[in-house]
């Protein structure tokens, strides 16, 4: 077991390094000098040179990368060009906001998905099954940014139940699980939860339906086991796969929250990314992408390590 964990860790290191490289190099994809974002076009030459030196853009790229990486490892991701604040601080506060949103949305989506999927799989072919199938198709087909708009239209401007934008006073830094704050969370979380809902429902439904058709379940039924007991058996067997999928979904939610956060002006990493892109704020852009991707890589690693623990059947590579 230990060798498996070590192997996975070893394997993750080059991936993580490549991720840092890509995060750094992305800004150089576009034609044109990244410096254009910092200095106005008609600035005198000395000012441009000074700015270049200040941001370290006068050194060759590999050197820049090396310095950036070294500082990043120590927790220093540079300063945002637009706001002047430290990138690390901004990203961290954004991450906690997104984590809040993604966590709640993920949890809700996975939970509802499991219930719906299990019911649909158990009563395979009945109306419950059909409803669940329809819901899961909707879940994977709906553009979630549009859903956010529609929900805003109905519940915010229409009924006035929830605020249309923002994360409440103080954001996640001063988060309290009270109605005042939760009002801001409901619509974005609901919108975001649709994505894992669709996928988990589908997955669980297929797994449960499959499992119930297997012979060992027939044997259990023949022994007169009650519905609940069979359900528990099925749950135990499908849990590992579902956990793996759910874990990955959380990663996607973290990385893909940008659209929903834009709709609701939720001050998370997605929103930050948006800002960084439009303001050509290079350090902020690099830092945000780096943190998000490393988080995703770490999550994948965690899922890979946890899965054999839960499911002893899984072969190790």
């Amino acid at each position: 077991m230990l060798s498996y964990v070590l192997k996975r860790l070893l394997y993750t290191i080059p991936i993580a390094l490549s991720v840092t490289l890509v995060s750094f190099m992305l800004v150089y994809l576009a034609p044109g000098d990244p410096l254009n974002a910092i200095a106005p076009a008609d600035a005198p030459a000395e000012v441009v040179e000074a700015l270049k030196a200040a941001y370290g853009l006068d050194k060759p790229i590999p050197v820049q990368y090396g310095k950036w990486l070294l500082r990043a490892v120590q927790g220093d991701l540079g300063r945002s060009i637009a706001s002047g604040r430290e990138v690390a601080t901004e990203v961290l506060s954004a991450v906690s906001n997104t984590l809040l949103l993604a966590g709640v949305a993920g949890f809700a989506g996975v939970l509802m998905g499991c219930i719906l999927g299990a019911l649909a799989g158990y009563w395979h072919g009945s109306w419950i099954d059909r409803v669940a199938t329809v819901l899961s198709v909707i879940g994977v087909s709906i553009p979630h940014y549009w859903l956010g708009l529609v929900l805003t239209i109905i519940f915010s401007t229409g009924l006035g139940w929830f605020p249309a934008m923002g994360a409440g006073p103080g954001g996640s830094a001063e988060w309290l699980w009270d109605l005042e704050h939760l009002r801001y969370l409901v619509l974005p979380a609901l919108t975001l939860s649709v994505i894992p809902l669709g996928i988990i429902t589908r997955t669980v439904r297929a797994l449960v339906a499959d499992m119930l058709e297997q012979e060992f379940v027939m044997a259990l039924r023949a022994r007169g086991l009650s519905h609940q007991a069979i359900f528990r058996h099925v749950a135990k067997n499908t849990a590992p796969t579902v956990l793996a999928v759910a874990g990955l979904q959380l990663g996607y939610l973290m990385g893909g929250s940008i659209l929903v956060e834009t709709v609701f002006a939720w001050p998370g990493t997605g929103f930050l990314l948006n800002t960084a892109i439009f303001q050509r704020d290079i350090p902020l852009l690099q830092g945000t992408i780096l943190v998000l991707c490393l988080f995703f890589v770490a999550l994948n690693l965690l899922v890979d390590i946890l899965q054999p623990l839960i499911d002893p059947r899984m072969g190790r590579t």
């Binding site: 576009a30 087909s141 553009p143 549009w146």
Partner: protein
């Protein structure tokens, strides 16, 4: 020692069987009809649309649905919604189809080669692609599109780059399986060149699964592409495109929410149709096994 077969219907090739299965799938057929209408409206927009998609009118801004002369209302600049939706379909559908098609061609080629050659080349290729899997698709698309800058072609490139690794993965996996089968060994025994073997024996058996996977990506590509426009990274105004229209109509949700929601509804309907069709294709190909 002659043997005979009992008389039966003439045998059909693989794709004909799949088509036949598909025709019996009602849900899939309905989806095809819906898509045909939407695609038709998009292609024939210049001839069928009632108005000019760029003609603005400050007087007629945000007219509600059902207004005379503007059945689906007007947008924030007074342009006819029905027309812009039809024209918008062109770019939105392109956002869905082009990246998937490009990734299909590129991904299958790479996957085929890597899978057939095997060994270190294969391992190296897959390891390089593993780096791409370390990025969630939405993030990667936004990051690449953001880095390249706004514009439709940049968005198409970004989406293609996101989908290629996934296609390669599917193609390589199937190719590796097929390559071990006895009929490939028999083909090698005939002394044929590797190129000929891939073309005649491997390709036909790999295209199927990759095709199924690709059809599933169509809706994702469209939603993501329109999403990029929604963020301001894709199509630039005043070009009509569903995602972009959602963006520009956002401020209008207070005054005329239904019109503001229309472009997204189009994305939704098209996406459902794509997904249901993809499901139908997958079932049709499964039954054949």
């Amino acid at each position: 020692m002659k043997t005979t077969l009992s008389p039966q219907a003439p045998s059909r090739s693989f794709w004909m069987v799949v088509l036949r299965q598909l025709r019996q799938d009602r849900v899939a057929m309905i989806s095809i009809c819906v898509l045909a209408i939407i695609i038709g409206a998009a292609i024939f927009a210049p001839w069928v649309a009632p108005a000019d998609p760029f003609k603005a009118s400050m007087l007629n801004r945000l007219l509600p649905i059902g207004s005379p002369g503007h059945w689906l209302g007007t947008d924030e600049l007074g342009r006819d919604m029905l027309t812009r939706l039809m024209y918008g379909g062109r770019l939105s559908l392109l956002m869905g189809v082009v990246p998937v098609l490009a990734a299909f061609v590129i991904g299958t080629s790479i996957g085929l080669l890597a899978g057939y050659v095997g060994g270190r080349t294969n391992m190296l290729t897959m390891r390089v692609l593993d780096v791409f899997y370390a990025f969630p698709s939405v993030l990667l698309a936004v990051a690449i599109a953001g880095a390249l800058g706004p514009g439709m072609s940049n968005s198409l490139i970004a989406l293609t780059l996101v989908f290629v690794p996934q296609m390669v993965r599917v193609a390589e996996s199937v190719t590796t399986q097929v390559r071990r089968l006895d009929y490939i060994e028999a083909a090698r025994m005939s002394g044929a060149s590797a190129f000929s073997i891939i073309r005649v024996h491997v390709l036909g058996n790999v295209l199927g699964p990759v095709f199924v996977y690709a059809t599933g990506l169509l809706s994702v590509s469209m939603i993501l592409g329109s999403g990029l426009s929604f963020l301001g990274l894709g199509v630039k105004p005043p070009e009509p495109e569903w995602g972009l229209m959602l963006n520009t109509l956002r401020s209008a949700i207070f005054r005329n929410p239904w019109v503001a929601a229309l472009p997204g509804a189009m994305i939704f309907i098209t996406s459902i149709a794509f997904n249901l069709l993809a499901d139908g294709v997958r079932s049709a190909m499964d039954v054949r096994r």
